[in-house]
């Protein structure tokens, strides 16, 4: 498992790249920018990436993170990749529901079920 900055950890599985957020709170714009740069650098290394984002540690995030996810998904889908989100706590899931982003993202209970559903 490789550690990139203190913000994410990256694991390369057989079928997928799994990125876990290591921070409990993702808020500040500068943090989000750093986070985006870190994730994008991973995405750009793999052609047609099958990326799973693990939110297990995240207890709080702002709408700026949702913006990051949308930018990220655009980049991935434009390059025929796949993106799946998982391990989202009920409180964070509520934010996805309110904003109807449950319609645009594939959200799974855990990493295993997200990996299973990769094509």
């Amino acid at each position: 498992m490789a550690e990139i900055k203190p913000r994410i950890s990256v694991e390369y599985a057989e079928k997928a790249t799994i990125i876990s957020f290591t921070d409990e709170k993702i808020l500040e714009e500068s943090d989000i920018k750093a986070l985006q740069d870190s994730i994008m650098s991973v995405v750009e290394q793999t052609e047609r990436i099958k990326l799973i984002l693990d939110f297990g540690n995240v207890q709080f995030l702002s709408s700026a993170v949702l913006g990051l996810l949308i930018r990220l998904s655009k980049r991935i889908y434009e390059h025929d990749g796949q993106l799946k989100l998982c391990n989202i706590t009920p409180k964070i899931f509520e934010i996805f529901k309110i904003t109807r982003l449950t319609k645009t993202f594939d959200i799974y209970k855990d990493v295993e079920s997200a990996v299973e559903d990769l094509s």
Binding site: E29, G67, I70, R71, I95, I98, R100
Partner: protein
């Protein structure tokens, strides 16, 4: 009615009457339970952190639960980011004024920036159409969703929001449960 020793005022001692007792009790309750503060902060994203710490610790002290604390935290972050980004246009010379009152039953927050204001009705709903795929525009939706009262000043550069600890029961909901 010498129920207990009295109050010292200007060096004089007198016995408390029933009315004094009540006023003293109420003023003690108000001073202990309701916290009013006014803070002015610079237009930088990290400035909200200390304000959040202050407000959230007072919510905790006044018995608000985790859901309330999460909701107020989110609304504060989103409102402040809107104020400095869209209101003050990240101008470091401009400030944001935050007034808050934390009571036993509700929290009230007012936030005013130095911007030109905006029309909240003119903001596109990010849940539908192209808005769903745009990176921004969800802050206002989240504030409206997590706070019980959300009002803007006429100019649009001031926001007033309230969250109640106990939600009033809706008549409609009562009807639905009877069916």
């Amino acid at each position: 009615m010498n129920r207990r020793a009295g109050l010292f005022k200007s060096g004089q001692c007198r016995v408390l009457t029933a009315e004094d007792d009540w006023c003293w009790f109420v003023s003690l309750m108000v001073s202990k339970a309701t916290i009013n503060r006014s803070i002015v902060v610079k237009s930088k994203p990290s400035a909200i952190e200390k304000v959040c710490e202050q407000i959230l610790s007072k919510l905790k002290a006044n018995g608000f639960d985790k859901d309330d604390i999460f909701a107020v935290h989110l609304a504060l972050e989103e409102a402040f980011l809107n104020a400095i980004k869209h209101g003050n246009k990240m101008d470091p010379t401009k400030e944001v004024k935050i007034d808050y009152s934390v009571g036993l039953d509700k929290i009230e927050i007012s936030m005013t920036d130095e911007g030109e204001g905006f029309e909240p009705e003119a903001v596109a709903d990010p849940r539908y159409g192209e808005g769903l795929y745009k990176p921004g525009g969800r802050g206002l939706l989240l504030i409206n969703s997590y706070m019980d009262v959300v009002k803007f000043t006429e100019r649009g550069n001031g926001l007033y929001m309230v969250r109640y600890k106990e939600k009033p029961r809706l008549a409609k909901r009562d009807d639905q449960t009877q069916v």
